[in-house]
Amino acid sequence: MTTAMAERAPKLPVPKITGAFEGGPLTGAGALAKLALRRDRIMLPAWVYVVVIGVASNAYTFAKLYETASSRASLVASGESNPALLFLYGRLNGNSVGALTAWRYGVWGALFASLMSIFLVIRHTRGDEETGRLELIGSARVGRQAPLASAIAVAALANVVLTVLLGIVLPFLGLPAAGSLALALAIGTCGLAFAGVSAVAAQLTAGARPARGLALGALGVAFLARAVGDAAGASGPGWLTWVLPLGWTETLRPFGGERWWVLALPLALFVACVWLSFALAAGRDHGAGLFHDRPGRPAASEALRGPFTLAGRLQWPALAGWAAGYAVLFAVCGAAAKGINQLVGTSGGLTKEFTRIGGQAEILNAYLATLMLLAGLAAAAYGVSAVLRLHSEETSGRADPVLVGSVGRARWGMSHLVIALAGAAILLAVAGIATGLGYGLAAGGAGTETARMLGAGLAQLPATAVLIGVAALAFGAVPDGSVAVAWTAVGLAVLLAVFGPMLQLSHWVLDVSPFTDVPKLPLSGGVWGGRPPGPAAPGGTLAPVPLVWLGVVALALCAAGLAALRRRDIG
């Protein structure tokens, strides 16, 4: 009834916007922004929902779990002294529930908001340009800069909505209004800053994949900078927390005497990046990056002859990038572990807390084990993206010429799956070696440290492989939903690993993540993670059984995925 009436109603005249929007380089930006919102009508609210509900629901549980000051005391003590926790979450700015919430979810909320901005901006700029969609749009009455402007505007809108929702929800949970606003703004402005960073990245490369890689790399560097700055201790490079966006969510000090002027930093970065991206976009051709493609080989080398070498050729730039990032990141983090020695004994209270959780060696091991857990989770993210290359090859039609050659489906599926598994193993080995070298060269004993960290890194491989197997099975069985299924699995594993132990979830819930079953290596007493609320995990013995089981599960998942692939339609 209402729709019928709406159809009959005369169309309202479209209001005319004048200035840069009419006939100028921004003509049509409004329409394009609407198109982007229409295309992302599921994805965008989902991101905002995940960040808002993630932070708010955890803040709620947190307030319930640590209601009294005394229950917060030990958490605060370990939060201030344990480099693993400092590395992961940042510094504490007080011992109120609000300060603890900001500590636990500030940096990570900002991280997710930044991921949202990166995917969004690249998708609507370089992504559309690479597929040729922008060419179609550009031929209509649309200004040169309109697609870029609309993508930035949509990302900005998403971050504003995110900020407003958080700013409204958090005070309802009983947190102080000023601190809530500061935390919401800290997360939102960080997302905004990375919208700007992505806009610049989108101008630099001719492909969407490397552009996304650049922006994600910048995010990784930002995380690393603040993590090292926080974990390094008093004598370490604490200034690193100040130099990049993710650290600014801490230096703003929500709930701990807010420093409002810090908000100017991400906003200034955003403005500078937007200006730079427009300047770069104005000076380049459609479809071109900053660097032009040089002519390549007129004939294939002897090596490029089958599905495996093709998959290797397609995947190797991404793997090389990841490996380089891993090497730098973990070398720095390993070297930062030396600062732990200086931390101990700075105050009587801290020493007491240290002794309670196992002493200096245990703290160090817990920190290193945390590094390896993060290496495992990130390697799973790499592996899943490598498996999902199968999906993009299929949907783009590039799988057809391979499968119409005399290449069986299982062989084609395996060609990318092997890269995912081998790549994850390489990354974990790099993480272990780099951490061991970094710590060993700084603190002595490079040889033994490298050997033991290499083992600790590779111990993550079975759990990582399980997530790769989930992606393989999803691709084989439900190709249309494979991207969502695979990344949800990774997201779940990250959430359970990073927030699960602190929320004192039952181990049934924690066991959903394969990483819960990985022994904490190098061996530690379960300072961080482990299975609460039971006694500290028995240190000293390594049980290889869970690793074998995880390996079996991973292989079974991969085999099931390939079997399903052989039975279904392609394309």
Partner: protein, 312 residues
């Protein structure tokens, strides 16, 4: 010799949509067979079943004497395929892709030797720069890459899905020359198209499909037999067409006549014309275009009727 492709009552559904609804197709070994139909008729779906990429829901299908689903890997050694919408790996050069596709099909030294020889000649004929990254190729150039890879192979069956849709007229001519040469060389070609002049110039036999069903199949001569001839004449005086059967689209003005006539009634029409006296006469067989349009519009009238009657 057995048929290269034999399909009977082929069925395929995608969810609720029926793509193929009992399609028949038979392609004899050594012939160029045009596979015609409007967009969405089911040409590409049929081809993807023949290539073992899709699984049929019903009917029988054999390809080069084997089952295209079960024996896909072995059969693919003997065929080459050019998709309608060619997408290539953006970071590889055209030359690399041509070689890679050949090696994916058959990596034996003998096959490689043959490929190498023809590759260069085809690259020159189609005027392709093989050192460019595929990212930089236009649609036509991407199509050339796939065509060169297919033509350079020694496959006995070529499956070409709208292979000229992005080529310019000069390249289209090069394509026709190549396919004619292939036919002389004894290769079987399945050529899906909606460019009818192309099928007319190249094909031995034609299958026309619509809405997932075969509506017509045969040689061009056989199909023309079913149809009309267009007649355009200038006469000495006015002409009476009363009582003459089989006339269509009549446009008579004074001494000028334009009409289409069923071939069965052609003789009678000519008798009347000569009785009046003919100054000029042009008569020609229908182009495939006309055949096709007629087939298409008749069918859509039918389906409109179908739609009206069973409505509840």
């Amino acid at each position: 010799m057995a048929n290269a492709i034999e399909a009977h009552g082929l069925r395929k559904r995608f969810g609720k949509a029926t793509a193929l609804d009992g399609l028949d197709l038979s392609v004899a070994a050594g012939e160029v067979h045009a596979f015609l139909g409007p967009n969405g008729a089911g040409k590409t779906t049929t081809i993807r079943i023949l290539l073992g990429l899709l699984r049929k829901d019903g009917g029988d299908v054999s390809l080069l004497g084997g089952d295209p689903w079960r024996d896909a890997t072995t059969l693919h050694r003997r065929l080459a395929y050019v998709p309608g919408d060619v997408t290539l790996w953006p970071s590889l050069t055209g030359g690399e892709i041509i070689d890679l596709l050949a090696r994916l099909r058959d990596d034996s030294p003998a096959a490689r030797q043959g490929e190498l020889k023809r590759r260069q000649e085809l690259i020159e004929r189609f005027d392709l720069d093989p050192s460019k990254k595929a990212r930089a190729y236009s649609k036509g150039n991407r199509q050339k890459v796939a065509l060169i890879a297919a033509l350079a192979s020694d496959a006995e069956l070529l499956v070409l899905d709208e292979p000229t849709s992005g080529l310019d007229p000069l390249m289209e001519a090069a394509f026709r020359d190549s396919v004619s040469a292939e036919r002389r060389g004894g290769r079987t070609v399945l050529l899906s198209s909606h460019i009818l002049s192309e099928a007319e110039a190249l094909a031995d036999r034609v299958t026309i499909i619509r809405s997932g069903r075969t509506v017509e199949t045969g040689t061009l001569a056989e199909l023309r037999h079913l149809t009309r001839t267009t007649v355009d004449a200038e006469l000495d005086g006015p002409l009476s067409l009363d009582g003459l059967p089989g006339l269509h689209e009549v446009d008579a003005e004074g001494t000028r006549l334009r009409c289409e006539v069923d071939n069965a009634a052609l003789n009678e029409l000519l008798r009347r014309l000569t009785a009046t006296g003919v100054r000029t006469l042009v008569s020609r067989p229908p182009t495939l275009e006309e055949l096709f349009l007629r087939q298409y519009s008749d069918q859509s009238h039918d389906s409109e009727r179908d739609r009206v009657t069973p409505a509840p």
